[in-house]
C-alpha cells in the first residue's frame, strides 16, 4: 500500500513541477530584488493601496490571516479579506475573477489550468501524523493496521502488541484539511467507524489523546509535542524534516493560485509568504514552508 501511495505522490509531484515551472523563473527575479533591500519584508508594501480578496482552502486560513494582519498593520491603505469555502471554491472564484488569490490544498487539474489559465504557487507542506497516548507501548504501526483500526476491525491494543485496552478512535470534523489528508493519503478513503469521536481542532485532538490511554488520533506534524506520541508509520518517522525531504509521505502541499501571472499587490502578497518572515508565519500555523 505504501508503494501505491508513493507512486501516486510522485505523479502528483510531477504534475506540480510542470504546473509551477514557469512561475519559479519569474519568482527568482523577485528574490533577487528582495535581497537588494533586505530590511523588513513589509517594506515591499510601502506606497501600495487597494483591496486583495482571498478565498478557498480552509487549511490556508491561519497563514493568510496572519500575513494579512501584519501587512494591514503596517500599511492601512491595504485591505485584505480572507474567506474559506474549500479548494473547489478557491479554484472557481479565482477562475471567475471574483477573488485575486484562490487557495487549494491540492494541485490543480490539467482541466482547471486550461480552462482558467491559472498559475500555482505551492508555499507550504501540510503533513499529518498518527498519534497515540505517550504511555502506549506501541511504537510502530503500518498503514494497513491504521486502516483496520479506523474501520473498527481491530478494537484492542493487545492485537497490536500493546496493553489489553480497548482502542478509542478520534477523528476530525468534516471541514478539516487535516482530516482530508488523513482520509485521502493514509486511509485511502477507507471507512471510519461511526463510533469514532469527533474533535474540532488539532489542539482538542492533542488534549483528548494525551488524556486517554487507549486513544488513537491524528494531528498536523507541526502540532506534535511531548503530550502525544507519533508511532513510526510504515517505517517512516513523522518529523518536519522528513515531510520536507519527501521521506514521510502522508503530506500534501498548500497552493495559492492566481489567474495569469500576478502583479502589484497580489504579487507582493505572494512574495511576502516566501520571505523568512512568511516562513515563520507558515511554521507558526503548523505547516512546513517549501521555499521557492
Amino acid at each position: 500500500m505504501s508503494r501505491v501511495i508513493s507512486i501516486r505522490l510522485s505523479t502528483y509531484r510531477d504534475r506540480l513541477v510542470r504546473a509551477a515551472g514557469h512561475a519559479f523563473v519569474v519568482c527568482a527575479f523577485v528574490v533577487l530584488a528582495q535581497v537588494a533591500h533586505a530590511a523588513s519584508p513589509l517594506e515591499a508594501f510601502k506606497g501600495m493601496s487597494g483591496n486583495l480578496d482571498i478565498a478557498g482552502g480552509t487549511a490556508h486560513i491561519p497563514v493568510m490571516k496572519e500575513a494579512a494582519k501584519r501587512i494591514m498593520t503596517q500599511n492601512a491603505a491595504i485591505r485584505i479579506s480572507v474567506a474559506g469555502g474549500g479548494s473547489g471554491v478557491g479554484v472557481q472564484q479565482v477562475g471567475e475573477g471574483l477573488v485575486a488569490i484562490g487557495n487549494t490544498g491540492r494541485a490543480l487539474s490539467e482541466a482547471e489550468v486550461a480552462k482558467y489559465g491559472l498559475v500555482s504557487f505551492p508555499f507550504a507542506i501540510d503533513g499529518v501524523a498518527v498519534v497515540v497516548n505517550p504511555a502506549n507501548p506501541v511504537g510502530a504501526l503500518t498503514a494497513a493496521q491504521v486502516r483496520d483500526i479506523y474501520a473498527g476491525k481491530v478494537t484492542n491494543w493487545k492485537a497490536l502488541g500493546g496493553a489489553d485496552r480497548a482502542i478509542t478512535l478520534y477523528t476530525r470534523d468534516e471541514a478539516s484539511g487535516t482530516r482530508e489528508v488523513f482520509d485521502g493519503k493514509l486511509l485511502a478513503k477507507g471507512a471510519v467507524a461511526a463510533s469514532a469521536n469527533v474533535v474540532p481542532s488539532n489542539g482538542a485532538m492533542k488534549t483528548a489523546v494525551a488524556q486517554d490511554a487507549g486513544a488513537i488520533g491524528y494531528v498536523g506534524i507541526g502540532h506534535i509535542d511531548t503530550s502525544v506520541k507519533a508511532p513510526v508509520l510504515d517505517g517512516m518517522v513523522a518529523t518536519q524534516e522528513n515531510a520536507a525531504n519527501g521521506s514521510y509521505t502522508v503530506t500534501r502541499k498548500l497552493y495559492m493560485n492566481t489567474k495569469g501571472q500576478p502583479t502589484g499587490l497580489v504579487r507582493a502578497f505572494i512574495d511576502y509568504l516566501f520571505t523568512d518572515e512568511g516562513a515563520d508565519i507558515i511554521r507558526a500555523s503548523g505547516y512546513i514552508p517549501t521555499g521557492r
Binding site: 468534516e174 478513503k189 463510533s195
Partner: protein, 290 residues
C-alpha cells in the same frame, strides 16, 4: 393626564420592542426554511431528517443529532430540575438562613461563569472520572455532557423559580403559620401549588438553554454520529453538528444540512415551550378550581 400620556408612550415603546423581536424571530425562521428548502427539494425529501448521516454516499440525515439533542437536554433537565428546586426551597426558608444566603450567593456566582470554563474544567476533571468509572470508552459521552449542562442550567432555573417562589412565600407565610403548618408543609401544600407556572417556565427555559448550548456538547459529548443507545456512548447534538460542519464548502449537501438542523432546533424549542405553557395553564386552572 401627564401620567396617562407617559403610560401610553411606555406601552407603545414596549409593544414596538416586542413586535420587532417577534418579527426578527419570524424572519430567522423564514430564512432558515428558505435555505433548508433546496436540501429537501434535492431529491432527498425527508431522508434529510430521518435518513443516515453518510456524506460519502450523499445521505445527510440529521436524525441521530436530533435524538442526541433531545437526549442530552432531557437528562440535563431531569438532573438539573430537582437540584434547582431544592436550592430554591433552601433559599426560601427550608434551610437555615445562613445556608440559604450561601445558596443565593452561589447561584449568582454560577450565572457569571462562562460556558467554556465549565467545559475545560469538565474535560480535565469529570471526563477522566467518567472514563474510569465506566471502565470503557473515552469519558466523552452523553452522560458527561448532560451532567455539566445540568450544572449550567441550574442558575437559570433557580432565578425563574425564585421569581415566583420568593413573593409567594412572603404572601402565605402568616396564613400557613396561623393554620399550624410548619415551613415544610407551607412549602409543599401552599407555595409549590401556587408557583406551578413558574416551575413549568423554569423547566422550559432550562431545557431550551441545555438544548441550545453548543460549546459543552462539542467539548464533552464526543460528537460521533450515532443514535444515542447508552449514556456512556459518544453522541453529536444538533448544535455541535452545526459548529463542526460550518466551515465546509458552502455548496455541499453537508452544508445544506446545517439549515435543516437549525430549523429542527428552533421547532423543537418552540414545541417544548408550547407544551409547557399549555401544561402550566391547565395546571393553574386545575389548582384554581379545587
Amino acid at each position: 393626564m401627564l401620567r396617562r400620556w407617559k403610560g401610553g408612550v411606555v406601552t407603545t415603546v414596549c409593544a414596538l420592542c416586542a413586535a420587532s423581536v417577534a418579527l426578527a424571530l419570524v424572519a430567522i425562521f423564514a430564512f432558515l426554511c428558505l435555505f433548508a428548502l433546496p436540501v429537501f427539494m434535492d431529491g432527498q425529501g425527508f431522508a434529510v431528517i430521518a435518513g443516515d448521516w453518510k456524506p460519502a454516499t450523499g445521505s445527510y440525515g440529521v436524525l441521530p443529532m436530533l435524538q442526541a439533542s433531545m437526549g442530552v437536554a432531557g437528562i440535563a433537565l431531569v438532573l438539573g430540575f430537582p437540584l434547582s428546586l431544592g436550592i430554591c426551597c433552601g433559599m426560601n426558608g427550608l434551610a437555615p438562613s445562613g445556608v440559604g444566603q450561601m445558596f443565593r450567593g452561589l447561584v449568582r456566582c454560577l450565572t457569571a461563569v462562562p460556558t467554556v470554563v465549565y467545559g475545560f474544567a469538565a474535560l480535565f476533571l469529570l471526563v477522566p472520572l467518567v472514563r474510569e468509572a465506566a471502565g470503557r470508552g473515552t469519558g466523552l459521552c452523553w452522560l458527561t455532557a448532560s451532567l455539566v449542562l445540568a450544572l449550567l442550567v441550574v442558575p437559570t432555573m433557580v432565578l425563574v423559580m425564585e421569581a415566583g417562589m420568593g413573593p409567594t412565600v412572603e404572601r402565605v407565610r402568616l396564613t400557613g403559620a396561623a393554620m399550624g403548618l410548619n415551613r415544610g408543609q407551607v412549602m409543599v401544600h401552599m407555595v409549590l401549588p401556587l408557583c406551578w407556572r413558574h416551575m413549568a417556565g423554569a423547566a422550559a427555559l432550562g431545557f431550551g438553554r441545555a438544548m441550545g448550548d453548543t460549546l459543552l456538547p462539542l467539548m464533552l459529548a464526543g460528537n460521533a454520529v450515532q443514535s444515542p443507545g447508552s449514556p456512556l456512548e459518544s453522541v453529536r447534538t444538533l448544535t455541535a453538528h452545526i459548529a463542526l460542519v460550518l466551515a465546509t464548502d458552502s455548496r455541499s449537501g453537508t452544508y445544506g444540512s446545517l439549515f435543516v438542523a437549525g430549523c429542527l432546533l428552533l421547532l423543537l424549542n418552540l414545541a417544548v415551550q408550547l407544551v409547557l405553557r399549555v401544561l402550566a395553564r391547565s395546571g393553574a386552572q386545575f389548582r384554581g378550581r379545587t
